[in-house]
Symmetry: C2
Subunit: 325 residues, 2 copies
């Protein structure tokens, strides 16, 4: 089997340069990278990750836990996180907690067992008295920080404000906000806070609703929304705390014979593909997932090295106007 | 640190039972599982996965490579695969090849380095002369088998036939088929073959189109479809080889002032959420992802143990009728 030294010889570079390429550390020219790459391929060189992990205590593995893999927001988040991992030579050990705290707990234990370098948590945080249950650093994304080492989020508060303001500007005076989950530590809290704050400032009537279940797969959610719109027929604008909910509001409006945007205007949140695909396409608060995931991957090596980092990073959001308003 | 023996004592079970629970092998009662679970939690017991990997040569890690994480079909596939992994105590080392063969090659090498037990490949297969480049068994899903050890697919051929037959039954006589990618080893080939076969049998006029690029994110795809529909205004039915394409056909029809299903009927493939969300909802050929992923996870331990398995498994599809036809 080829060694690092063989690769260096084949590439015509010294061993430390090859090592830098393999570990993605410091400046490496594109040419050097290409030469190492082709030498590795030629010699079928493969660094043994597990052996390296035991030697350096760095496995290169990052545990990632999402609450629902099939939800377009998480699929899109993972897509961007994976892209950033790729540039940083991290690998993703992925878990889907299905919003189940027992599973989440078990997955965090698996992460420990696999000696992951860190965990990125997009699922709910388990409340624990002692932080140091786990030896890896933890970053939460769009979840409460709790005992995590760092938090990366979008500006949910401002997003809520922007939604209310936009609906007001479009002439709406009877607003409703529908949140997807009534679970502590979920960002829709802050979206709602911002929404209420702006409604009060503008003296607009507003009502807030949320369900305990985050079941976008079932028809229950649609029925729940139809019911709300029936009970409050004066509603002329809805802020949904996700595009998935906004799409269901659109479907509910259709069932009730309401025209969007003429009778009812809708603003979603996340700016996922769902907002684009919907008919009419949905105005949405855009989360800058590329920037958020870049921040995560910038924080990781510092956290892994035990350095102090900024505890909370908030990335700005923007309003993307579409047919629903 | 607690040992397996401590857990067994705490749970009031013998060591072999605890071991079976941990390795998810053989029959285990729910009660035993619960007792082991609570004993593990109480004692903060964590099996050391990497050490176990070096000892038993089984890491419990399965490499999974998809071509596009953010595509709803792959998000949904991963969701089901993850569920099956969970029951079998496998863990997912996930890679997104972004349809790039160099990346795919590199990821397969990473899989080797991490001593994965096997790889599940949903991305294109790299043609290689020598199979035994990698030491792990390989299963492809909805891709050519090539040098892989096993293939799991849905009945693409029959799906194509069903689409053509359904459009014919709904009165269409000028059909078009639009495939998403013109890449070898992709299942839309067989979908097209089935479609053509049935059209010929029914003496229905048909035309086939495909693009080289699989870029559902860009507007190019929509323009490409608008262009086709403009060039062939007598078209009354479209079979799209994915729901994503079907949704774009719906958007294209709208741009051209065509009413779906009155002027144009559309059948998609995969039966992803996209088909449900679309307006009107899209008739689609349903892939039984739960059954396909069950098959994958039934094959894995046999392949890992070096046993002979069925080389190709084809899972039936069914037509799900919706508003677009």
């Amino acid at each position: 089997m080829a060694t690092l030294r063989d690769v260096a010889r084949e590439a015509g570079l010294n061993v430390s340069t090859v090592s830098r390429v393999l570990n993605n550390r410091g400046y490496i020219s594109e040419e050097a990278r290409a030469r190492v790459d082709s030498a590795m391929k030629k010699l079928h060189y493969r660094p043994n990750e597990i052996a390296r992990s035991l030697r350096t205590q760095n496995s290169g593995l990052i545990g990632v836990i999402v609450p629902r893999l099939s939800h377009p927001y998480y699929a899109s988040s993972l897509h961007w996180l994976m892209k950033r991992f790729d540039s940083a030579a991290y690998h993703m050990l992925l878990f889907d907690s299905e919003n189940n705290n027992d599973k989440l707990w078990q997955y965090l234990q698996y992460c420990e067992s696999y000696h992951v370098d860190a965990v990125v948590l997009m699922s709910n945080l388990i409340k624990m008295d002692k932080k140091k249950e786990f030896s890896f650093p933890l970053i939460t994304v769009e979840r409460e920080r709790g005992w995590a080492d760092a938090l990366v989020q979008c500006d949910n508060l401002n997003g809520g404000r922007m939604a209310a303001e936009h609906l007001y500007e479009r002439g709406c005076r009877n607003l409703i906000q529908i949140a997807g989950a009534n679970v502590p530590g979920i960002p829709s809290d802050r979206r709602m806070t911002g929404f209420i704050e702006m409604c009060d400032r503008l003296h607009v009537k507003h009502r807030e609703f949320s369900t305990d279940e985050y079941q976008f797969d079932s028809g229950d959610y649609l029925r729940f929304i139809v019911d709300i719109l029936r009970r409050f027929p004066d509603t002329d604008g809805v802020f949904a705390s996700s595009d998935m909910i906004a799409m269901n509001v659109e479907k509910a409006a259709k069932q009730l014979g309401l025209s969007v945007p003429d009778d009812l205007k809708i603003v979603g949140f996340d700016d996922t593909k769902i907002a684009e695909y919907a008919e009419p396409p949905i105005t949405s608060i855009h989360q800058d997932l590329p920037a958020m995931m870049s921040t995560v991957v910038e924080l990781l090596p510092k956290l892994i090295a035990g350095e102090e980092v900024q505890k909370e990073t908030t990335i700005p959001v923007k309003l993307v106007k579409r047919g629903s308003t």
